[in-house]
């Protein structure tokens, strides 16, 4: 099985590989290599994860006790807004694009991405977009405090920081669209002979579908923020009621993008989990074809459920019923996926290394977040829970735990392939248990404060919510600190980790494990392998 075709890239020979014409920093700026760009994406997203995380710490610090202690309400609102924007667009999305860059060419037997120079471009737009977001804090009036959803009419009234955010969103959108075009073309045109679509690893499938979602949804967001921009400066009245516009229209356009966005974040995470669970169960993925169809079904349904985010805007009951039924329908393909993952583990020869622990943690906690999603999808219930901490708990279970745990699982899983070195298994397990305990401390109690009626995006709260908020804050600080352990583990692996085997995980069966050495050589599959 572990046929090594390329003798390059064992240990230090890695550095003898051809890295293009430049060295040092210029190598990274000019690189068109999918592995370099994947690495850039991953480091960028980790830095953004820490920046967004620091903002979450400010939020939890202020909410540690009732009353206003540390920050004023304006700054608090800026923190919640920027935490959301940075985590969604700066941390989670680039992290999975990083995975895509690293893995898709290796998994389908392609030498590189289809448009290598555009690939370089789509990464290097990101630091500029992130800088625009951060610069907005130093503008008169500060960063926008409008919430990550950027609802009108507040956005029309904000200071100049809002314009910076709008342009940042434009840049982030362009970056994702270029990245997606690249991924679709790579998967459709550069597969190795014999690698039919239905033989691709599921990670490639979920990314193919995600990329289509991105191409369809991101431009709609760009349109929404462009309308906000022209309302602000060019005298249009898309959302300005005084000029005949309608703020609720913004919500419709935003969520038409916003709901597919949720799956843009979740589907690549599903892909990672679908690689990790079979590897540590030593069984092929159960129900591969049904996984593909379920993923497609989720993607298609995601475009017709957007208004379940806005049951309280005063839409007709018929509208509420339609969006409610469509939303609950999504539970079916998602249920198929969860069933298949569990069935993959059923009677498998399981072992519990760190990637598998994170994958099982994902499975358990993501499903929990899915259940609260089902509760919120019911229009009658949602009217009570709308904009409470119950919603905060729900989307952090699927995103902050779901997507992030899948990201950790993927990094521990592929780190040996990427760096040629193993991480410290014992510390990895510590990282898992600390993260799991603290993140549940943070978010589980928020279900209770939400059910009791604590509103989100408010820096102060009545005394009766104090205990829950104290527990939540302590959990958040713990989770935040645990991530420095993760950084240490990764750095330690890169510097002094044990040498990894070419096929580090005996159950892994995709091309990067079976056909390439560890670390993967700088240029792989220059001659495409033939898949029998």
């Amino acid at each position: 099985m572990s046929a090594v075709v390329d003798s390059h890239g064992h240990g230090h020979e890695h550095h003898h590989d051809h890295h293009g014409g430049y060295s040092g920093i210029m190598r990274w700026i000019t690189t068109t290599n999918h592995k370099d760009i994947g690495t850039l994406y991953l480091w960028f997203s980790f830095i953004m994860f820490l920046v967004g995380g620091a903002m979450a710490m400010v939020i939890r610090l202020e909410l540690f006790s009732p009353g206003l202690q540390w920050v004023n309400p304006d700054f608090f609102n800026q923190m919640t807004t920027m935490h959301g924007l940075i985590m969604v667009f700066g941390a989670i999305m680039p992290a999975f694009v990083g995975f895509a860059n690293w893995l898709i060419p290796m998994q389908i037997g392609a030498p590189d991405m289809a448009f290598a120079r555009m690939n370089n471009w789509s990464f290097w737009i990101l630091p500029f977009a992130a800088s625009l977001l951060v610069i907005s804090f130093f503008m008169p009036g500060g960063a926008p405090g409008v919430g990550w959803t950027m609802y009108a009419p507040l956005t029309v009234q904000m200071g100049i920081g809002m314009d910076f955010t709008i342009f940042a969103v434009h840049l982030l959108g362009m970056s994702s669209i270029m990245g997606s075009i690249n991924i679709i073309t790579t998967i459709l045109n550069l597969r190795a002979p014999g690698m039919t679509l239905m033989r691709m690893p599921l990670f490639c499938w979920t990314w193919l579908i995600t990329a289509y979602l991105l191409v369809a949804a991101m431009p709609v967001l760009a349109g929404a923020v462009t309308m906000t921009l022209t309302d602000r400066h060019f005298g249009t009245s898309f959302f300005n009621a005084a000029g005949g516009g309608d703020p609720v229209l913004y919500q419709h356009i935003f969520w038409f993008f916003g709901h597919p966005e949720v799956y843009i974040i979740a589907l690549p995470a599903f892909g990672v989990i679908s690689q990790v669970i079979p590897a540590f169960s030593r069984k092929p993925l159960f129900g591969y074809a049904s996984m593909v169809y379920a993923t497609s079904a989720i993607a298609i349904l995601s475009f017709i459920v957007w208004a379940h985010h806005m049951y309280t805007v005063g839409m007709p009951v018929t509208g509420q019923l339609f969006f409610m039924y469509a939303t609950t329908l999504i539970a079916v393909p998602t249920g198929v996926k969860v069933f298949n993952w569990v069935a993959t583990m059923w009677k498998g020869a399981l072992s519990f290394e760190t990637p598998m622990l994170f994958a099982i943690g994902f499975l358990f906690l993501f499903t929990l977040g899915g259940f609260t999603g089902l509760v919120l999808s019911l229009a009658a219930v949602d009217i009570q829970l709308h904009d409470t901490y119950y919603v905060v708990a729900h989307f952090h279970y699927v995103m902050a735990i779901g997507a992030v745990f899948a990201g950790f699982a993927g990094i521990y899983f592929w780190l040996p392939k990427w760096t040629g070195r193993m991480y410290d298994e014992k510390l990895g397990k510590w990282h898992f248990w600390l993260s799991t305990i603290f993140i549940n401390m943070t978010f589980f109690v928020q279900h209770f404060s939400g059910l009791a009626g604590m509103p989100r995006r408010v820096p102060d709260y009545p005394l009766m919510f104090e205990t829950w908020n104290k527990i939540s804050s302590i959990g958040a600080f713990g989770f935040g600190l645990s991530q420095f352990l993760f950084l240490y583990i990764v750095l330690k692996a890169i510097r002094s980790g044990e040498k990894a085997k070419d096929k580090q995980w005996e159950g892994a069966d995709s091309l990067e494990w079976t056909h390439l050495p560890s670390p993967a050589p700088y240029h792989s599959f220059e001659t495409q392998p033939v898949i029998k």
């Binding site: 073309t185 431009p219 309608d246 839409m315």
Partner: protein, 169 residues
Amino acid sequence: MLLRLSTVAVLMFGFGFAMVPFYDQICAALGVNSLVPIERAAAKNTQINRARTVSVEFDANSHDLPWRFRPLVRHLNVHPGELAVIEYEVVNARSHAVTGQAVPSYGPARAAEYFKKVECFCFEQQTLAGGEVRRMPVVFVVDPSLPKDIHTVTLSYTFFEVAGRGGRS
């Protein structure tokens, strides 16, 4: 491939804007989201119910505004369905022009939807020159479908000064 996918992206950007007229059409077709609900725009039954008498009381306040504002009659008995006219008087005590907006409220609150104002000074902003005295009419009909247990309706106006956007002069 690059071209085709970019076209999709551009089309979807256009789709975002296409949602604007689309949304207006849907709202108009379904009658949602309009400030004057279609079926309630006019009193349904214009027949005067002489068997019933409703007492309407008038009240006037001004909020942080140096205007003397009062109804010329404090109280009126009307039959449901009957067109009634009363007048309010407002005096600007300041020496310069001031713009105000009157906001109506009703007691009991559920009487609001049965109280149809045909003409009212609260429909638009009022600008009074310094020291000006103005009499302003209110023409209204109490809808005959007013619940049986409501015998008295209070109509109360509060004048607010219009600040900002060309208001404070």
